[in-house]
């Protein structure tokens, strides 16, 4: 990107922090409802005149099926505690990430909902399947 070989990117913030910090690239817009604390001057796509373009993603912890429920609950609790820590939250923000934890039951529903959501997006966009 700095070299000009890649003139444009649609990326998660950490993947483009290098070129942004070195001045090789500039952020044009954040494709979400809110501005990012890490890029307070960068408008959202809606503010920049493109309300229909929103794109977001998430990372989630999974364990192999059959892992005892009490251990799943324990990991969930530990994650919630870690993400409640102000230092951890601040470091997430610097990376453009919003920390959030839900219960394992909610997480199971969340996965199913997201699979359907992305299936609809991909099918509507007519993206061919990768063999």
């Amino acid at each position: 990107m700095i070299a000009g070989a890649v003139p444009l990117g649609f990326q998660w913030l950490p993947n483009v922090l290098g070129p942004l910090n070195s001045g090789g690239a500039r952020p044009l817009a954040v494709a979400g409802k809110n501005r990012l604390p890490a890029l307070p001057k960068t408008p959202t796509t809606a503010e920049a005149g493109l309300p229909e373009y929103e794109a977001s993603g998430w990372f989630a912890m999974q364990v192999p099926r059959g892992t005892p429920k009490d251990i799943v609950a324990r990991i969930n609790r530990e994650m919630a505690e870690a993400l409640a820590d102000p230092t951890v939250r601040e470091r997430f923000e610097q990376q453009g990430a919003v920390p959030r934890v839900i219960s394992p039951e909610e997480a199971t529903k969340f996965t199913s909902t997201e699979i359907v959501k992305w299936r609809d997006i991909i099918q509507k966009a007519g993206i061919p399947q990768i063999q």
Partner: protein, 198 residues
């Protein structure tokens, strides 16, 4: 004479204790008793890797065991996620995966090598990201509006970007063509968010 009922009570208590010790009580109290491995199905230094390590570092302190990150990138995150699906379900292997391998790739790929729902217990999502549209400073645009104007005024080839994998480029095209932006139907602004290099 009165020893028998006492013995019975004691025996009963021992049986109950043994059952407890054998089951969840002991596990909950001793877990984790050895280091935990977390498979990150993306490259070291990528968005996923960075935030996962920030969180795990804190968790390792409170859980009192090392938590070791094992990066296994490839196939849009599917390779590492598949490894996690086959790991022993004992609480000592976790997978920090994401919206690609756990959701979108189920439709994008013919065969993932795992079922995101059936092969895992979901613990919780932990980091939500928004796509950032960035432009090289060599591109003469400072705002999204200028980018759209520039894209309309220039032939498609002039702002096509590179991407690293089939998943990413396919996906990127779609994102642009869904946006009213620089109308990628005629002008493919490429590259790519999430699926590959998460």
């Amino acid at each position: 004479m009165n020893k028998t009922p006492a013995r019975r009570v004691m025996l009963g208590a021992l049986v109950a204790l043994a059952a407890l010790l054998d089951g969840t009580l002991v596990r909950a109290e001793t877990y984790p008793s050895r280091p935990i491995t977390v498979i990150v199905p993306f490259a070291g230094g990528s968005a996923s890797d960075v935030v996962t390590r920030i969180m795990l570092n804190k968790m390792s302190q409170s859980m009192g065991q090392p938590i070791v990150v094992d990066n296994h990138p490839g196939a849009g995150g599917n390779i590492g996620t598949a490894m996690g699906a086959k790991a022993a379900p004992d609480g000592y292997t976790w997978v920090a995966s994401g919206s690609g391998p756990i959701a979108a790739n189920k439709t994008l790929y013919r065969d993932l090598g795992y079922d995101p729902e059936k092969d895992f217990e979901a613990v919780t999502p932990f980091a939500f990201f928004t796509i950032v549209v960035v432009a090289s400073t060599q591109l003469p645009v400072k705002t999204l509006g200028e980018l759209i104007a520039y894209a309309k005024a220039h032939p498609a080839s002039s702002i096509t970007a590179r991407s690293a994998s089939a998943a990413r480029s396919t996906w990127a095209g779609s994102i642009s063509s869904r946006s009213p932006a620089p109308s990628s139907r005629t002008c493919p602004i490429a590259t790519s968010p999430n699926m590959g290099r998460t």
